[in-house]
Each structure stands twice: as structure tokens, then as C-alpha cells.
Amino acid sequence: MPFTAKETKRNEKAKDIMNQQPQVPEGLFQKCSKCNEIIYTEDIIANYHICPNCNNYFRVSPRTRLSMVLDEGSFQEWDKDLPISDPLNFPGYITKLERLRAASNLDEAVITGEGKLNGISVAIGVMASDFLMGSMGEVVGEKLTRLIEGATKRRLPLIVFSCSGGARMQEGIVSLMQMAKTAGALKRHDEAGLLYISVLTDPTTGGVMASFAMLGDVILAEPGVLAGFAGPRVIEQTIGQKLPEGFQRSEFLLEHGFIDKIVKRSRMRAVLSFLVASCGEKKLEENEALFNEEDVD
């Protein structure tokens, strides 16, 4: 139905008012990608970056993750700014990496280092989904391998939060080799009798899932994480049919026996603390308080 002249005028006026309104400072509100609700950013942060309306888990940056898990101010970063690798001389790749490095305050798709968890030193790596989909090329593989080797040498428990589309295409076969490299380093950490906890976050697929992410003594996942070898689109193309709801999600992995536990973000620090303490020299009783009924299935 066409607008009357009056209505048109009113609409224009409304538009003007909208345009003239002082802009909401960027980041004050966020729209939930799942329920589309507009939410006060501070409420999201206070809620562990989970939508208070629909419980959707937002992806979080590695720094945020570290601050949610480790003792405050305890993180010390290792191996920052390793040189860029471009074994295929892939057109535009170096420029793309440099642009990403400048824009994201990350040097690559993983941050590694050491920190404390309830006073216990741990080696920890956290992948970044917004750095080329958290894909693993030579630098990511090298940083993780150094982390694992450092943990073995210093007899530290190891925690890796995975979040990756898999091996990085732009570096070709060299990316594939990182799977063997990290798995080999983990074998030595394992043989040294040390604890490795792998935490799957959304999404973890491909070469990362088929190497270090599935090699934990304990494997945890956040709720609803997509984790699998092949991506859903590839499987659908292969078998020529739609995948059922929930396929390859955390709950599916738990049901099929491939992860130990689904852990809510709000409980992650407590569960990790318990595991690290229980596999170390510290007595269990001291940490029992950390492990409350919420974690009992």
C-alpha cells in the first residue's frame, strides 16, 4: 500500500531523527548471532561471553580466554613474533598475514605461554578463531611444539584450547607436517608422565582435530562445539544428504565416547584446576571445594 503524503513525511522525519541521534558508542551493545537479541555488552562480559537470553556461546579471543581461566596477571607469553613462513610463495599470503597481524594484535592463530591455575604452573596454548580461521601452518605448529617441549622440559601440565578450521591451505604440505610434529612432541610429554588436557572450542576440525586436539589425557569441550575430522559441508557433499541436527557437536562426541566431559564456560577454570591439582603433587582434598555438584552429571 503506498504511503500517504503525511506518512511519508513522518517516515522521513523519523529517519532524520535516527540519523541525527548521537551514535551509540561502538561495542556498547551487541546483537546475538543466534537469537538476534540486542544485549548490553557488559552483561555479555559478566556472563562469560554467553548470551544471557539464549545461552549462545560467543567465540572469545585468546586473551579473554586466558583471563577467564588463569590466575589474574599470571600469564607470560612465549615465542611471540616468530618469522612468517610462506613455503608455497602463495600469491598475496604474506600481505594477508601482515595485515592480520596489524589488525588483530595477534601474531598468529595461537598464543602460547605459561601461567598459574590456583597457584600451580601450567603451560597453556589458546587458538584464535579470527586469525585465518585458527588454521595451523608452520608458525602455529612451531609455537605449539615449543610449548609442548617446554612443558616436557620443565615438567609442566599442558592445556590447549583448540579452535581451528584445520591445516592451513596456503602453506600446503608444510601445514600437514605440523600434525606429525605436534603429535610427536606430545608423545614425549606423555612418556614423561605429564598431564595434557585438550579443550575443544567452537569449531575444531580437520588437521587440528586429527592431531593434538584428540590426544589429551583428558579431553573437554564447551557445550555445542562443532568438532570433527571432516566439516559438515564436505560430509554432506560426500554422502549426498543432509546431516542430522547436532551431528559432530559436543553432545554427539560425548555420546560416542570421544570426549570426557562437556564443561560450561563458567566452570572451566574450576574443572581445569581440579584436574591439574589431581595429577600433580598437591593433595586432592585442598581442591575438592572447587569441584561442586554442578559438575556431576
Partner: protein, 285 residues
């Protein structure tokens, strides 16, 4: 030698339907072979064959991806794309080899690990990851030879070895050129272009120090008799004639010699030395 064969042409050769498969090499190179089946967990994967063989009285464990030639064979072999039970069978046999101190020889020939629903349900990622981890410190020499397609993690799970060799026209890559083009350029039709960029040929990978050796695909011509009825030496010519089961004898003979050299060379290494070298082989990449 004639014009250089392009990477994309090699991809097509490596996938060729008449190209010899793992079982063909096993039959031609080794003196005896007893196939063993099953992963002891779920089933027996036809896309992976394995067992115990003998070569000049040396017992070895052999594991290979297995493709079929006909549709019926490929139903059984799943076009050489293993499910998790294939990797678990491989690992079981490799552990057995370690126990009985037999060297391991792997033949790699797969488009990749199978991307199906059941494969996910039974833990494709876990099966591959575990092989990578266990092979990294397995206490027996391991040689992997890529004879056709070396596709992604599905190939790597059988190529965490002390040495990796490739036939001249075999390929070894992070993903198929089609998949690579589809991911990076959203256009799988640019596979040919992708193949040239990806460094997937034996020569490229040797130059990058990803592999140790390129085996030229010499082929046997029919042995002819001269007028006096004497048998002439088998002729060898270089490609572009395609390798087939009929003309693979001279290649198999050469591979036998080289495999024996490998076995003798590695026999003298201590386990400690072996594991350290294998770790370094991947550590430097």
C-alpha cells in the same frame, strides 16, 4: 626425456585406474605375504591391507592403502579411503611389528581418509591422531612409499616414518587440488592451477626435504627373443608410457633392491638413535 609432465598431469596419472596398487607391489617385491585382518574393535577395513611378508628371509610388516580397479572392488576398498577401523588395523599391526622387532613398510595410496557419517561416529580424527602419536616413537624402522595419491591426513597417518619415498608420478598433498581450489578460490574447477602451486610432486617434495627419495618410474618392455633364440635384456624406457601391472616388473625389481638397502642400513641403528632421528625428521619441518 620428452616434455616435462605438469603437476596436474601427474595427479591424473597417480589416480589412473590401471596404475598398480599396494597388493600389486607386495606381490611383485616380496617373497611371501600373509594378510592379517581386523582392528579388534569394530571391523576389517578393505581400504587398508596389512600383514607379514618376507624379503630375502627378513620378516617385515607391510601396510598399505588399497584401491580397487572395478566398481565391485571399489565397493570393498572404498576407493582407498579408510574409515577409522583402517587406521586402527594399521596401528594394531604396527604395534605387533614393534613387539616382534619387524621393520614396517607402508604403501601410501589414498585420496584421503573417508569423509562419511559413520567415520565421524567412530572417531576418524582420533584414529588418525593416535597413529601420528604412536608412530612417532614406534621402536622399529618404518619406511613409507607413496605409490599413487598421498592425500592429506589420511596419507600422513601411514607416513610418520624414518624415510618417505615417492614414485616419480605419485603426489602427496595437504588436500586434493580440487579441495584446495574450492577452499581458497571457491572454485574447484581451478584444480589444475592449484596443482601447479601446491608443490605436490615427488620432485618438489624432495627439494623441500619433505621426502628422502624419488623413484623413477622405469617400465619394462616386453622381453623379446633375438633370431638365435636368446632372450634380450628387458628394456627400460621413461614415461610418458603409463605404469601398469603388466609393465611394472623392472620398477618392482628396483624397489626390491632399494627396500633391501633400507633394511640393511637401518638394522644397525639403535632404537634410541632411530626414535631420535625420526623425531628430528618432523621437528625440523
Amino acid at each position: 626425456m620428452g616434455e616435462e609432465i605438469t603437476a596436474w598431469e601427474r595427479v591424473k596419472i597417480a589416480r589412473g585406474n590401471t596404475r598398480p596398487t599396494s597388493l600389486d607391489y607386495i606381490g611383485k617385491i616380496f617373497d611371501k605375504f600373509l594378510e592379517l585382518h581386523g582392528d579388534r574393535v569394530y571391523g576389517d577395513d578393505g581400504a587398508v591391507v596389512g600383514g607379514i611378508a618376507e624379503i630375502e628371509n627378513i620378516p617385515v610388516t607391510i601396510i598399505g592403502h588399497q584401491k580397487g580397479r572395478t566398481i565391485k572392488q571399489n565397493m570393498k576398498r572404498n576407493f582407498g579411503m579408510p574409515n577409522p577401523e583402517g587406521y586402527r588395523k594399521a596401528l594394531r599391526l604396527m604395534k605387533q611389528a614393534e613387539k616382534f622387532k619387524r621393520p614396517i613398510i607402508c604403501f601410501v595410496d589414498t585420496p584421503g581418509a573417508f569423509c562419511g557419517m559413520e567415520a565421524e561416529e567412530r572417531g576418524q580424527a582420533e584414529a588418525i591422531a593416535k597413529n601420528l602419536m604412536e608412530l612417532s616413537s614406534l621402536k622399529t624402522p618404518i619406511l613409507s612409499i607413496v605409490i599413487g595419491e598421498g592425500g592429506s591426513g589420511g596419507a600422513l597417518a601411514m607416513a610418520v616414518a624414518d624415510e618417505v619415498w615417492m614414485l616419480e608420478n605419485a603426489t602427496y598433498s595437504i588436500l586434493s587440488p580440487e579441495g584446495f581450489a574450492s577452499i581458497l578460490w571457491k572454485d574447484s574447477k581451478r584444480a589444475g592451477e592449484a596443482a601447479e602451486i601446491m608443490k605436490i610432486t615427488a620432485k618438489d617434495l624432495k627439494d623441500m626435504k619433505i621426502i628422502e627419495k624419488v623413484i623413477p618410474e622405469t617400465i619394462s618392455e616386453k622381453i623379446e627373443e633375438n633370431q638365435e633364440g636368446e632372450t634380450l635384456e628387458a628394456q627400460t624406457v621413461l614415461l610418458p608410457t603409463e605404469l601398469t601391472i603388466e609393465n611394472m616388473d623392472s620398477l618392482a625389481k628396483e624397489m626390491r633392491i632399494q627396500i633391501l638397502e633400507f633394511l640393511h642400513q637401518y638394522k644397525n641403528k639403535t632404537i634410541e638413535e632411530l626414535i631420535k632421528m625420526r623425531y628430528q625428521r618432523f621437528r625440523k619441518l
